[in-house]
């Protein structure tokens, strides 16, 4: 991770939603950092030391089982934050946070973030609202992972990632997709081929290209729309 002292900009939507006086409590402590695909920002059970506000890219949070296998329970992009729970009193990370798509982010230590949260009703209000939405989204994920067919879940995942990357060409390996979806790599091969045969995607090693976005939307489970709508609720209260 490359940390520079360049002042953080406010492409992250949580930071952008703050009043200037609230933002000024965080600004002196924020560092811009580049997060590379595959980097583990937080290991399940470890102390939360840093809070990240992505400005681009995507981070996944995984529930990890004792056998080492896991499944994705949340994705975080420029609408969110990783490790924000530190401000709510969580000392240890509940899940593993992994960078899925290269990201720029603003980073702040958990202790500096906590003290800004304690001082500012504006920050508190925003983070509590964000937390509410996150809890709802994690519940949606739990239902989706248990009840929805892996083909529909893959469609949702590709669309979600597309929105975050703002590109139809997604740098995703089968290995990564199998971890996200909680299935074998070979199962991803079978399902991705089915989508390719239907003319929805084209995949090569390490890359999935979306050919028919509308078709994917029709095929995806309801969670794509639910998550998209729900994520906006954090910001719909704001006048600015």
């Amino acid at each position: 991770m490359n940390i520079s002292r360049v002042p953080a900009n406010r492409r992250n939507r949580l930071l952008a939603a703050l009043q200037p006086s609230d933002y000024s409590l965080l600004a002196p402590h924020l560092k811009v950092t580049r997060l590379k695909q595959g980097t583990v920002l937080q290991e399940s059970g470890d102390p939360i030391r840093q809070v990240y506000f992505p400005e681009s890219g995507m981070v996944s949070v995984l529930a990890v089982m004792q056998a080492g296998n896991g499944i994705e329970i949340a994705t975080i992009g420029r609408e969110g934050a990783v490790g924000y729970m530190a401000a709510l009193g969580s000392r240890h990370a509940a899940g593993r946070a992994v960078v899925q798509v290269d990201a720029d982010a603003s980073q702040i230590s958990a202790s500096n973030f906590r003290s800004a949260f304690d001082q500012s009703p504006g920050i508190r209000d925003l983070i509590l609202r964000y937390n509410d939405v996150q809890m709802a989204l994690v519940q949606q994920s739990a239902g989706c992972n248990a009840l929805h067919h892996v083909e529909k879940r893959l469609c949702r995942w590709l669309l979600q990632t597309r929105d975050r990357c703002d590109s139809d060409i997604l740098p995703l390996t089968h290995e990564l997709l199998s971890e996200m979806l909680g299935v074998q790599r070979t199962t991803v091969t079978v399902v991705a081929r089915a989508l390719q045969t239907q003319g929805l995607v084209r995949y090569r090693r390490g890359q999935v290209e979306i050919i028919d976005r509308h078709g994917l939307e029709k095929k995806a489970c309801e969670c794509y729309e639910v998550v998209r709508g729900k994520s906006e609720e954090v910001f719909s209260h704001d006048d600015h």
């Binding site: 892996v150 074998q184 070979t186 091969t189 079978v190």
Partner: protein, 80 residues
């Protein structure tokens, strides 16, 4: 001392049933035991994805190596 770097063998996982699936991508795995685990996992995933279907007796995962010789054949009915 020269350290020899050997690449892992690639295995291909095919589904044999009414709607066959031929794997052209394959997967690099350390050995045949890992290929066996992957094949069993694939069969489990597919059965889990279609809980309504009771009869899997005609379904098989067949694993070939890079020379297209079959190294494993696992009927779904052997997987629980």
């Amino acid at each position: 001392m020269i350290t020899e770097i050997t690449s892992m063998p690639r295995y291909f996982f095919h589904l044999e049933n009414a709607r066959p699936f031929r794997d052209v991508d394959g997967l690099e795995l350390p050995d045949i035991d890992a290929a066996h685990d992957e094949a069993v996992g694939l069969a489990r995933d597919i059965m889990r994805l279609e809980p309504g279907r009771r009869n899997w007796s005609k379904w098989t995962v067949s694993v070939t190596d890079g020379n297209e010789s079959r190294v494993l054949q696992i009927p779904f009915s052997d997987v629980n």
